[in-house]
């Protein structure tokens, strides 16, 4: 907030440096957005119609946390529809808001393996929110190039993701639950293979659950000047902790703490950003559905790294294009599938 006010040349130079790959998506953005949004909406409607048409809802896996995964999976032959909504709020200056949505269909292949397919579609609004007061869209809109004084608004289909989780050990029959997660996301000019290690330790009759995730996700994009190359844009490396206690029937509450890092390499060198978030989570698990809500705030622990963009860190918080002060995530899930034996 107390940064010196730059002149217009500095703002333009900053926009050139930070809005990586922006020109790759400049052609016909509105036309493409409309088409892709209709596609996403059609998929959303299809998934919910499938859910409502199915007989005999069943209880299945469910997320106790907004950001941290546990090793619970859907049983064999069971389906679940999940709707995720993540809202990112507040930069160091100006106004910023981003809504990230995910509609997901999960299927239990067997009792150790779960497959999912989902669609991602986001909306955002930004104005004078970036370093030096320039309008700077958050990721994944950061490849657009608005004027530094634009009131930027955009909705966009981001991509289709597949997800596979394989559980090696169950926390109910082993001291620690262990699962491996793989999620490739493919979108226009974008590919991200995300890998995650999931650990779960239960206490007190499985009512107290401790989760830990380590995530490694290189992100490839077609970036100018050579848009023929799907090149490494950055690598996300995250560590998540979650602790949740079932304090009464159907209700659990706890907190989450996580560190998100971005690197300009595949091998943990050339760090760009690192931010820490913490906040409460509450979960309701009913017979046919669940709701999970998390609110996290960024801790003022950010420091400058070798590849940090100038002006990205203000007041100890990282405000680069994939970071903000607050995040709210709500997940809703609806179970359906085969009929339970009586």
């Amino acid at each position: 907030m107390n940064e010196p006010i730059p002149d217009s040349r500095q703002i333009d130079q900053f926009a050139l440096e930070t809005n990586r790959g922006r020109r790759a998506h400049e052609s016909c953005p509105q036309q493409t957005n409309g088409l892709l949004s209709r596609h996403a909406a059609a998929l959303l409607v299809t998934l919910f119609v499938m859910a409502l048409a199915a007989p005999s809802p069943v209880r299945a896996d469910e997320p106790l946390f907004g950001f941290t995964y546990t090793t619970d999976l859907l049983p064999k032959g069971k389906f679940e529809v999940e709707q995720w909504s993540t809202t990112r709020l507040t930069k160091a200056t100006g106004s910023f808001w981003q809504q990230e949505n995910r509609t997901e269909l999960e299927y239990g292949v067997n009792d150790r393996l779960q497959f999912s397919l989902y669609t991602n579609y986001d909306s955002t609004a930004a104005y004078h929110n970036g370093p030096f007061g320039a309008t700077t869209p958050g990721e994944p809109f950061s490849y657009d190039v608005p004027d530094p004084d634009d009131h930027y608004r955009r909705s966009r289909f981001i991509g289709i993701s597949g997800e596979a989780i394989y559980r090696l050990l169950s926390p109910y029959t082993h001291p620690v639950g262990v699962a491996l997660y793989f999620e490739p996301t493919i979108g226009p000019g974008f590919f991200e293979p995300e890998a995650r290690l999931i650990l779960q330790k239960d206490f007190r009759d499985d009512r107290l659950v401790l989760g830990f995730n380590f995530t490694y996700a290189p992100e490839y994009r077609r970036l100018p000047p050579d848009t023929s190359c799907m090149c490494l844009a950055e690598t996300d490396v995250n560590a998540d902790f979650g602790l949740s206690y079932r304090f009464r029937r159907n209700w659990s509450a706890g907190f989450e703490f996580f560190n998100e890092r971005e690197l300009n390499s595949l091998n943990f060198t050339n760090e760009i950003n690192s931010a820490y978030y913490v906040g409460p989570v509450i979960h309701y698990g009913g017979k046919h559905f669940f709701v999970t809500a998390t609110f996290v705030g960024q801790l003022p622990w950010a420091t400058t790294h070798s590849d940090t963009q100038p002006g990205a860190i203000v007041g100890g918080r990282d405000y680069d294009n994939d970071f903000e002060k607050y995040r709210v995530r709500v997940k809703f899930g609806w179970y359906f599938g085969g009929k339970e034996k009586k």
Binding site: K76, T173, F332
Partner: protein, 179 residues
């Protein structure tokens, strides 16, 4: 902040969800008649002392959540016990019949409130517990077969049986098992 996606989070709260309800498979009286046909039952409610609870936890390796025991002495000899264990969202209510030597005679699931995992009611699975006594140290995936997709319920019922067999050994064994 107008956006076509802005209202999606609200959908999470207005979409329909079925109310949670218990499936009652057996009443206490029905379970008693099933386990001990023709017998009469005398209620014998007890409260565990701190020392007894600690001894049960030590012997069974399972937490004692409630100090109150719901017991019935059986006219033909033995004990009928009603207890509950933690399920995924709710509690699972079950009943145990012990013969007058403390061996497990029968186990029945009385109420199951979860929509998934109800396979623990299958006779073949429950049959594994018959004849077990205190000190058996039942363990899921070792002495007790797991049911895929119902692991949490299997584990907690197994733990509950371990706890009640230890309760018999520490608290009830010295008492007359006939009214």
């Amino acid at each position: 902040m107008k956006s076509r996606f802005f209202l999606l989070p609200l959908a999470s709260f207005v979409l329909p969800g079925g109310p949670a309800y218990a499936t009652v498979y057996l009443s206490v009286e029905q379970a008693q008649a099933l386990m001990f046909p023709g017998a009469t039952f005398q209620p014998d409610t007890r409260t565990l002392t701190n020392e007894q609870a600690k001894a049960i936890e030590h012997a069974s390796g399972v937490n004692v959540r409630s100090r109150q025991l719901k017991l019935w002495r059986v006219s033909t000899g033995g004990w009928f016990i009603v207890d509950e264990v933690v399920g995924k969202h709710e509690f699972i209510l079950f009943a145990l019949g012990l013969d007058d030597s403390g061996a497990l005679k029968a186990i029945e699931i009385l109420e199951y409130r979860e929509a998934y995992g109800g396979q623990i009611r299958e006779p073949d699975w429950r049959k594994q517990f018959i004849g077990k006594q205190a000190g058996s140290k039942l363990q899921l995936d070792k002495t007790i077969r797991n049911i895929s997709g119902a692991t949490l319920s299997c584990k907690h019922i197994t733990d509950g049986v371990n706890r009640l067999l230890a309760t018999y050994e520490i608290v009830l064994k010295q008492s007359a098992s006939r009214p």
